[in-house]
């Protein structure tokens, strides 16, 4: 018995030691490879000369964030890309398809030691500042300067928005990320009932449109807020939310202002809640959307609502073209065309801290943004199978293929420089000029480049998030019987949870950042 106990104790100790050293190893790893990367020769500054063609081609695992499609032809696309990249930069590619709903979890697990994953979409599901403070992504400063020169040159005005504590941690995936917020409406439905929706439409005008629609066809709805988990305040009012879903405070009119206020206490929010309450009472939005489990997009795609909210830009038009809707969705901007930190960070590439060869990952990224062929392969798949040409640069789906059944495609991830790439019809050859013009006229917000570091208020953020999930859906779906009373209760609970501490921390960091500029 005693021997047995001793043996067990020994075994346990052994296992503990082994597991500890194993973890120690993985912790050191990134340091080692970082050193390797800097040791690489950089004599004449040409990217090609940095590449060692004598070694085995390294396989770069790159993410493709989807709506859950399996993409049966992924291997064929990889092979087509490898045929180009192996001779050019001695590097292979592995496409990892993730469902956007699992994306945040899958990335955490992969970096903690699961799947191999080198290039990830930062900012899409987890804020870049969080990824940086959790150590998920590595600093790209040296890699960009050495191996990503062409890419850096293209993104030079944007990387200040992906800079955290003075170091660049991500490269913008969309090189023209400015956008307006607004609505996309069902053109056929609007035509049928004689409805026109002007640019910069107000909530009041939308109420009148709702009355017209409801009178013409009582089975249709103007809009739906779904289960209320996503706010649409930023659609109707121009605001900067620091990627905090309104919980970190907001700046109204961010083109001119830098003062952070509590969105939930604002007059705008009260009016917004009252409009939705009114719409619910009048039947413009479904009365059971909180519980019926349908999300706004599905209801819109099924042709049951007149409009849904969406970001408005040439890039967004491409996303709409890729949805394969049975009707035309027309986009109408409400907020100005802005370039903000959040817009840049939403689609960006980062290199994970579990990446074995950050140098090769950067080589690939740089190549992706200079070589149109690889970018088109990643973005659209193989010509003839996944797309056919309409004109020189405009493509469409082959007959009998739709975005849901296609063998390869992309939904959320942007691969490559949009100006070098094919575009989906109904875009025309003038798309490229339109995009350049749109990017040129975008106005930068005053906080472009500022990133809120939430480390000091993590406790408050968790508490506020739980209060918000309790009250906000009720208010924003118009289900509260007394908006004023619910809002007052909501704000009292938010104060107890510490929202004021979050906002003052945010303002203090912003003021310090502004002073540095």
């Amino acid at each position: 018995m005693k021997n047995m106990k001793k043996f067990l104790a020994l075994l346990l100790a052994l296992i503990l030691v082994v597991s500890m050293t194993a973890c120690g190893k993985s912790a050191d790893k990134s340091g080692e490879t970082g050193a390797q990367a800097t040791k690489a020769p950089s004599t004449d500054g040409q990217t090609e000369s940095l590449i060692n063609f004598d070694e085995e081609p390294y396989e770069v695992a790159i993410e493709n964030v989807t709506l859950g499609q399996e993409y049966a032809d992924t291997a064929a696309v990889e092979a087509a890309i490898n045929a180009i990249t192996v001779p050019a930069i001695n590097c292979k590619v592995k496409i990892v398809n993730y469902h956007i709903a699992d994306h945040a979890t899958k990335v955490s697990l992969a970096v903690a030691g699961g799947d191999k994953l080198d290039l990830i979409n930062t900012g899409l599901t987890t804020a870049l500042s969080t990824l940086v403070s959790d150590g998920v992504v590595i600093s790209l400063d040296e890699l960009l300067a050495e191996r990503g020169k062409e890419l850096l040159a293209k993104a030079v005005n944007l990387v200040k928005a992906t800079t955290v504590d003075g170091e660049v941690y991500a490269v913008p995936a969309s090189l023209y990320p400015s956008k307006a917020n607004g609505i996309g409406y069902n053109q056929q439905m609007a035509d049928e009932y004689g409805i026109t929706i002007p640019e910069n439409v107000t909530l009041e005008q939308l109420t009148a449109i709702g009355a017209k629609l409801k009178a013409a066809n009582p089975d249709l709805y103007l809009n739906t807020q779904g289960d209320g988990s996503l706010t649409s305040l930023n659609v109707y009012y121009d605001l900067e939310a620091f990627g905090g879903d309104l919980n970190y405070g907001v700046i109204f009119d961010p083109l001119n202002s830098t003062s952070i206020v509590n969105a939930y206490e604002s007059e705008q929010y009260k009016e917004y809640c009252k409009v939705f309450k009114n719409w619910k009472d009048l039947g413009y939005i479904p009365a059971d959307s909180l519980t019926n489990g349908q999300n706004g997009q599905d209801v819109f795609n099924a042709g049951q609502t007149l409009y849904q909210w969406i970001s408005v830009s040439p890039t967004s038009e491409q996303v709409v073209a890729g949805k394969g809707l049975s009707f035309t969705e027309t986009l109408v901007p409400i907020t100005p065309n802005e370039l903000s930190t959040a817009a840049v960070q939403e689609f960006a590439w980062g290199i994970t801290s579990s990446c074995d060869r950050p140098d090769k990952a950067m080589d690939f990224l740089n190549f992706l943004y200079t070589n149109a062929e690889v970018a088109n392969l990643l973005q659209y798949g193989i010509e003839g199978t996944h797309y056919v040409k309409v004109s020189d640069n405009i493509i469409t789906y082959p007959e009998g293929v739709n975005p849901m059944s296609i063998g390869y495609g992309r939904i959320f991830t942007q691969f490559g420089d949009t100006l070098q790439q094919f575009q989906l019809a109904p875009a025309t050859e003038s798309y490229y000029d339109d995009l350049k013009a749109f990017a040129a006229e975008a106005k930068p917000t005053k906080t472009l480049g500022y990133v809120f570091n939430t480390d000091n208020v993590a406790t408050e953020i968790a508490a506020v998030a739980s209060v918000v999930s309790e009250y906000r859906p009720v208010l924003e779906t118009g289900m509260s019987d007394n908006v004023d009373a619910t809002l007052a209760e909501f704000n009292a609970a938010l104060k107890d949870a510490g929202i004021e501490k979050i906002i003052s921390e945010n303002q203090a960091q912003l003021d310090a950042w502004l002073a540095e500029q």
Binding site: C23, A462, S469, M479
Partner: protein, 310 residues
């Protein structure tokens, strides 16, 4: 045991039991890999976890990660809900489980007995998401069954998903409906293990069915009941996430009576996933569960030593 075995004989004993130990290896390995090695990760709860530095290299932050569980306004509410619901579930589950087990045991027909057993166990095998929609079919504000019934009696619609006063009953009912079959199996197997001799002797003495149940079945079931009670005490700070998250359809106005520690943690960290803070919650629940198991067991040991687990 050790003083019975002489030191010289020890070697022989060891060899004798070796096949049994070998048989135990898979189970032991499972326990070790699944339950003991992960204990290493508990330190995350006290660290600011950084993927790049790994578990061991991350910075210690003391009890910072636990703070959000106690400083929030909802701290009292979630603790109360978790404790009271679990107490209700445990006590009712015990009473109903024993009752149903005894009733099933009294059924004479073998086929009909199997039929009832299966029917009662069936909900246990269903996913909470499906049950949530079953409940929704009854309670839906637009076309739910209950509202249609109320309407035929001239009573106005009740907004089930907006009125919190009904939910303690709904949740307890759903929990019992789902889990009663599983509890019943434990009790039924114990009842089947009771020797028929007792009942025969009681019948000869003229005891009624009720007296047999009270004087024979229940006292002999007591060890099983107590063991299950002690085990469930360890889970009292953990709530059935599916039940509290899915069944009330995440309705904010119901949260004062449906929010428990697990749903609170989920809602708090949804937006900004934080491994350290979620481990802190799990760690806290385990510690409270451990203390409760030891306490309840100590009480049981004091009252009747043979029924205590350790």
């Amino acid at each position: 045991m050790e003083h019975q075995v002489m030191p010289k004989k020890k070697k022989k004993k060891w060899k004798h039991w070796l096949p049994l130990y070998l048989m135990g290896i898979p189970g032991m390995a499972y326990l070790l890999i699944n339950n003991y090695i992960p204990l290493y990760g508990l330190q995350i709860a006290f660290k600011k976890f950084n993927f790049n530095k790994g578990i061991w290299g991350s910075k210690w932050v003391g009890f910072d990660n636990f703070e959000y569980l106690f400083t929030s306004v909802q701290a009292f509410r979630i603790t109360r809900n978790t404790l009271l619901y679990n107490l209700a579930f445990i006590l009712l589950g015990m009473v109903l489980g024993v009752t149903v087990a005894i009733l099933i045991n009294e059924i004479v027909g073998e086929k009909i007995k199997k039929f009832y057993q299966t029917v009662i166990l069936l909900p246990y095998l269903m996913s909470m998401v499906i049950i949530a929609y079953l409940v929704y079919a009854y309670l839906s504000p637009t076309n739910g069954l209950f509202n249609s019934i109320l309407n035929t009696f001239g009573i106005e619609d009740i907004n089930w998903y907006g009125e919190k006063k009904y939910w303690p009953f709904i949740l307890v009912f759903v929990n019992q409906w789902k889990n009663i079959g599983f509890g019943m199996i434990f009790y039924l197997s114990s009842i089947l293990g009771i020797s028929k001799d007792y009942y025969e002797a009681a019948q000869i003495d003229g005891a009624t069915k009720w007296q047999q149940i009270r004087k024979i079945t229940i006292p002999l079931l007591a060890p099983t009941i107590i063991t299950l009670l002690i085990i469930s005490m360890g889970q009292i700070f953990r709530s059935d996430f599916g039940l509290f998250y899915q069944i009330p359809m995440r309705q904010g106005s119901l949260m004062p009576v449906t929010d428990t520690i697990d749903t609170f943690v989920y809602r708090s960290l949804m937006q900004k996933p934080n491994m350290a803070m979620s481990s802190a919650a799990g760690f806290y629940q385990s510690v409270v569960g451990f203390i409760l198991i030891v306490t309840v067991n100590a009480i049981v040991r004091k009252k009747s030593k043979e029924n205590a687990m350790f």
